[in-house]
Amino acid sequence: MNPMRPWEALGATRRAEQERLDKLEQRVLDLEAEISEMRRHHLRLAELTDVVQELLVPMATRDEERIREAIDQFSASI
């Protein structure tokens, strides 16, 4: 077996170090993307909840007048 020469060992260490840094950088980017994905659900969830509360609930009453009013009011407040 060929023993590694000192400069070769140094090069290998540097490469390993760079690889580790690259992986860490990628991991930070991934984490940022994942956090962003999760954060974006807040707005979507709020929109959906608002629709359920302001549109679907009145519709469940099957009262035509209330439904029409709910749709009008909802549209006017967006």
Partner: protein, 556 residues
């Protein structure tokens, strides 16, 4: 000790400084501040070593006709660093920076030439303070505790007046909720309450909106309302703030005096001012620019923003031509839409992304009951006023395809309207991004419950030089989306090629969007022939990347 500004010269080019100390500089013409800048940040190297030239801002330059008594001063201590008569042109007149309505103008912190408070009269400032009171009351009625924020808070705390260089007023509140989802829901609810008491509201994001307060002269003044929340010792206030903060720095609210009127402020206003403007907030800086940390911007973007991408650009684009009626010929999708509506006896034609209303107007003039939809509606409202005498079956409604509530609300209304409908979408899908396309399909599925058809013309693939285009569309993907939303048959009925665009071309200046999108400018490479189909224009040799578009028709 006073700062060194080293003012060398003031002339038609601007203000020339020699090795100036950094910081804000005011420029006054005939005793009135019209412009401020930072001595290093906002200047360019001059001809000589160490010289810095602050060029007159473009909006101001065209007013520099005649002569003026110019003063250059340090806004911090008011010390004057230059004073003299400057001749800008041969004209025998004083320079007058006044708009057609007679209001004196100044450059505000965003570089716009607007009537700032220092150029407005007492009456105007009183009207603003009254409007602040109205909005505070309306927001308070919705169950949160509003206070004056940003520049309005700074003015109230530092000098008990509005800031001279400011041009609007801001209101903020800190929610009792800790999760952004609840903060957004609360903001929706506050908006409903404010609308209920009679104000028009324009929403910017999930946590900020503008309340339009009518003034005596018929104009509406927009006041921004920014929502915020505290979570685990950190405050986020929509707009620009993200900082470690304590609950008792906000509550219970205190008061400050603004133009002689008591207004609510956070318990420790200096803490919020420091979080907003940094530790130097006590020193006046008419050209302060936010350097919001990336962490804060990213968080606020993710939680609250993205409800109406591109809105300001479209507003700006239409504002330039708002007084002209659209002239262009009906688009390909409108012509197809008309044929479909007549042949199937459709009850309603829906023109989505109607823009300035050329297609909607044409469709209504064909006797078809038409609804023009867009998220920027003022050009359509103007159009309606212009053609009022024609008594057309045309209505205008707002629709924002990137806001789910807007899509579901309008979709629910249409789902209850009986009869077949025809949807026309001329260069809409290529301008609204993936979420807009998804919501378009959702909207169609709701609107076309009683059957009907969709006629959409859009660019496919890359669109170099088309400034308003968002992403690259694939006709098959759009077709799949429509099928998933209930379309029984989707067909590409025409494929067109268009001459390359000039990269970076500014459509606002010299290019009417309606002309820009006139699809007859494209060569038809493949089209199903209809009874009154026109051929494309001749194929001149072209260089650069050719743009491709398709007309997609879906049957529901």
């Amino acid at each position: 000790m006073s700062r060194n500004l080293g003012v060398q010269q003031v002339d038609g080019h601007g203000v020339l400084l020699d090795r100036p100390d950094e910081g804000a500089v005011d420029v006054l013409l005939d005793g009135r501040r019209v412009w401020s800048f930072w001595a290093q940040r906002d200047t360019e190297p001059g001809a000589g070593r160490g010289e810095r030239l602050a060029s007159w801002p473009a909006p101001l330059r065209r007013y520099l006709d005649g002569r003026a008594h110019v003063v250059v001063r340090d806004p911090g201590d008011g010390s004057v660093h230059f004073e003299g008569e400057v001749v800008f042109s041969e004209a025998d007149r004083r320079v007058s920076v006044v708009n057609p309505e007679g209001a004196e103008l100044g450059i505000d912190k965003s570089g716009r030439l607007v009537p700032t408070f220092e150029t407005r009269g007492r009456e105007d400032i009183d009207a603003l303070v009254r409007a602040v009171g109205f909005v505070l009351a309306a927001v308070r009625r919705a169950g949160v505790e509003p206070f004056v924020a940003y520049g309005t808070l700074l003015g109230a705390v530092r000098q008990q007046t509005v800031l001279g260089h400011d041009s609007d007023a801001d209101i903020g509140y800190v929610s009792r909720h800790e999760a952004p989802v609840d903060v957004v829901r609360e903001s929706f609810r506050i908006q409903r309450e404010v609308v209920r008491v009679g104000y028009e509201v324009v929403r910017y994001s999930g946590a900020a909106f503008k309340v339009m307060v009518p003034e005596g002269d018929g104009h509406k003044r927009g006041l921004d309302v920014f929502g915020g929340f505290l979570d685990d010792g950190r405050l986020y206030l929509m707009g620009e703030v993200g900082a470690d903060f304590q609950h008792d720095w906000v509550f219970p609210l205190g008061t400050a005096v603004l133009e002689g009127v008591e207004v609510p402020v956070p318990a420790r206003p200096e803490r919020l001012l420091e979080a907003t403007y940094g530790p130097g907030w006590r020193v006046p800086d008419p050209v302060f620019q936010f350097e919001t940390p990336v962490r804060t911007t990213r968080a606020l973007n993710d939680w609250f923003r993205g409800l109406r991408p591109g809105f300001k650009n479209w507003q700006r684009r239409y504002a330039l031509r708002k007084r002209e009626l659209p002239q262009r010929r009906p688009s390909r999708s409108a012509r197809r839409g008309k044929r479909a509506a007549l042949s199937t006896d459709a009850a309603l034609v829906l023109d989505l992304g109607a823009g300035r209303g050329a297609d909607a107007l044409w469709l209504a003039r064909q006797g078809l009951r038409t609804v023009a939809y867009d998220f920027v509606t003022f050009p359509l409202d103007t159009l309606l006023e212009e053609v009022r005498g024609e008594d057309l079956p045309l209505t205008v409604r707002p629709l924002n395809l990137t806001e789910l509530r807007s899509v579901l609300g309008e979709g629910a209304r249409l789902a209850r309207e009986p009869g077949r409908k025809v949807v026309v979408a001329e260069h809409l899908l290529d301008a609204v991004g993936p979420r807009g396309c998804e919501n378009f399909a959702r909207f169609c599925s709701m609107a076309l419950r009683d059957g009907g058809s969709v006629h959409a013309h859009f660019f496919v693939g890359a669109t170099p030089g088309v400034e308003w285009s968002v992403g690259a569309l694939d006709a098959d993907e759009v077709a799949a989306q429509w099928r998933a939303a209930g379309a029984r048959d989707v067909t590409v009925v025409a494929t067109l090629e268009h001459a390359p665009r000039h990269g970076g071309q500014d459509d606002d200046e010299d290019d009417d969007l309606d002309e820009d999108l006139d699809d007859d400018a494209g060569d038809v490479v493949d089209e199903e022939q209809g009874p009154d189909q026109r051929d494309g224009q001749g194929g001149a040799p072209r260089t650069g990347q050719v743009l491709r578009s398709v007309v997609l028709v879906g049957e529901w």
